[in-house]
Symmetry: none
DNA sequence: GTCCCTACGTCATTTTTTCTAACTATACCA
DNA sequence: TGGTATAGTTAGAAAAAATGACGTAGGGAC
């Protein structure tokens, strides 16, 4: 009965902590690594990710910066404002960066993307 | 000499506090009114607006809600709300490619984009 | 098996931040 | 002048978050 589950629909993280953890994971950072970049203790990061009393709040800005996700995404989840195309925080980040580039660099980035997509 | 200044180019607020004050003003709220809606004291609001020792933090979310501005705007200034939709064809292409990538490759592409954006 | 190492969760306590409650200042108007 | 409304500033209290220490789980190497 069970349809052969396609690849694996990623279970969207539902809390700020989960989203933080997801974003950190995607960047291949450990809690310790992230903590170091932020200049806080590892346990602080652990507490943020487990949505404990210790809240991200004060460091939100820097966390969003270091992980390159939007504040809105970290806090609210998917960006509800952009149903059309760009969805997640990292996609928005990519777009923002792209728009900053010179035409030459844009072309280069697209080439890189294609190469990676081909399995390069 | 001085060109007749057109209407009045609104001097863009440059700090979170100034932007908060501007947003509050636009909505015709006094510090007291805003404080009431947020459930904090008026002096707290006053301190946020005068950018005293990074304060808003804990209430950022609610402030943004009540004033109906984005967090990004409050904190960073530039309106980050706009770029949520991918417009041009090349941007769409970039996004499509991005979505095909593995998390690792996505991270790599973002890194590349950041490097290019920094002028690398 | 067990030793070790890495990554992580949790707790008690300390440290930091932020709030509140006065108090002060300025502007406006009767 | 007095009265009102709005906002800036300060000290101390209250709340929040960071730290450091401890415990757990998984994986290799031996």
């Amino acid at each position: 009965m069970a349809k052969p589950q396609p690849p694996s629909p990623p279970p969207a993280p539902t809390t700020p902590g989960e989203r933080l953890r997801a974003a950190r994971g995607e960047r291949g950072l450990t809690q310790e690594g992230l903590a170091a970049r932020l200049g806080v203790s590892r346990s602080a990061v652990a507490q943020w990710e487990t949505d404990r009393a210790g809240q991200i709040r004060g460091n939100l800005l820097r966390v969003a910066e270091v992980l390159d996700v939007s504040l809105e995404y970290l806090l609210h989840g998917e960006d509800k404002r952009a149903p059309s195309v760009a969805a997640s925080g990292d996609e928005l980040a990519l777009l923002r960066l792209y728009r900053e580039l010179t035409p030459e660099d844009r072309a280069m980035l697209l080439t890189t993307a294609r190469r990676l997509a081909r399995g390069g």
